[in-house]
Symmetry: C2
Subunit: 250 residues, 2 copies
Amino acid sequence: MPGPETAPLFEEARRLGIGFCLGYAELAEDGGARRRYNTAILVERDGRIVAKYRKIHLPGHAEHEPWRAFQHLEKRYFESGNLGFRVSDAFGGRIGMCICNDRRWPETYRVMGLQGVEMVLLGYNTPIHNPPAPEHDALSWHHNTLVMQAGAYQNATWVVGVAKGGVEEGVHQMAGTQIIAPSGETVALAVTEGDELVTADCDLDLCRSYKESVFAFHRHRQPHAYALITGTAGVVSPDQAALIDPSLGR
Amino acid sequence: MPGPETAPLFEEARRLGIGFCLGYAELAEDGGARRRYNTAILVERDGRIVAKYRKIHLPGHAEHEPWRAFQHLEKRYFESGNLGFRVSDAFGGRIGMCICNDRRWPETYRVMGLQGVEMVLLGYNTPIHNPPAPEHDALSWHHNTLVMQAGAYQNATWVVGVAKGGVEEGVHQMAGTQIIAPSGETVALAVTEGDELVTADCDLDLCRSYKESVFAFHRHRQPHAYALITGTAGVVSPDQAALIDPSLGR
């Protein structure tokens, strides 16, 4: 990266002094093995690639399920990223990335928040229709906004969520690109499903008032009570929970 | 508990077959030491105390700060609770509790979500004015709703947040009692600062559609990437982060 297809993008962005975040399907060679990741890179205004992120939370399923209106085979075609949720000093601040479904998980933002992130960049291609749970469809917009605003506020960071909109291969994508301040307020929003340029002046210093008060992590967080978060992936019974975190014993 | 002041509450509730959650300042004897906690208990419809919670996230400050319009000395008068975020099988479901500032922390809901919680009960006395950050005051309602709705949705649980409203000892409390469904939708809301009875039919089975799809934790969570959440209370540099979680190394 850049390859022949993306070199013109890199060249034009560098000429204009514009940085960007670019998502792509990555074929990686790790110790002789071929691995496939859902990847994003962060490119500085001078054209340098300053960070790479490999998507950690892969939604969907691993096998073809013919009853679905369309497939969602991320668990088949990718593996969970092995680079963690890193942050990078770039664009005059501390920048992190995640991808699509990652935005629904508070852990995503928190790991970056604990590294002082000031802006999280993410892209998402989210169908409005959720085949296993169509009762969620009407709430797509609410859920999308809710998780990104909460991630921004609870970690005192800007969040820039860039969406695909409109119909692609018969699938209606939800759109809703938005830029969210550390206050949890959406300050810029796409209002159509077509191509739009959504911009905002993002003063990274606005993070400070939250990072130094309600979310001054070093004064207020209590990791002694969080062991379950890293101690299990799935739901456990209260008795199993007490084996992971003895303070939960009764 | 119940003591002489609360016995009439317990008696009347039992007579009516109504359970409740009650917050109070607790003076505890732990191994000979006197300890003070900000505590809530869960009382079943037959009057039994089925769970106790001691507040974990204590906001505010530990020393008198005369510049403030009012003091917020929770860190002086209480210590962080030592019972974790437990859940209890009660009221035909799995119930958890937290208190006030706990609701702003995604870890609170997640620890209970990982134990299959179906309803989180919490009370809060939150001033509209935040002395160290008055620029947040106008957003009190947004932040309050945001964190509780996100906690509900991201953990597929009902959240019942019960607020103090109106002016007490010269401090204006934000009110905003609400009952939130696992969809992240507020289904009942107090609309004044006075006494109100806010009710909703809370079908705990509505949790299932979220617990089994987008938030099927065992299929989708990735604790390999969460080490920082339990590995540090406060913000660390990216280099320090890599010592805690080697996958963050560069």
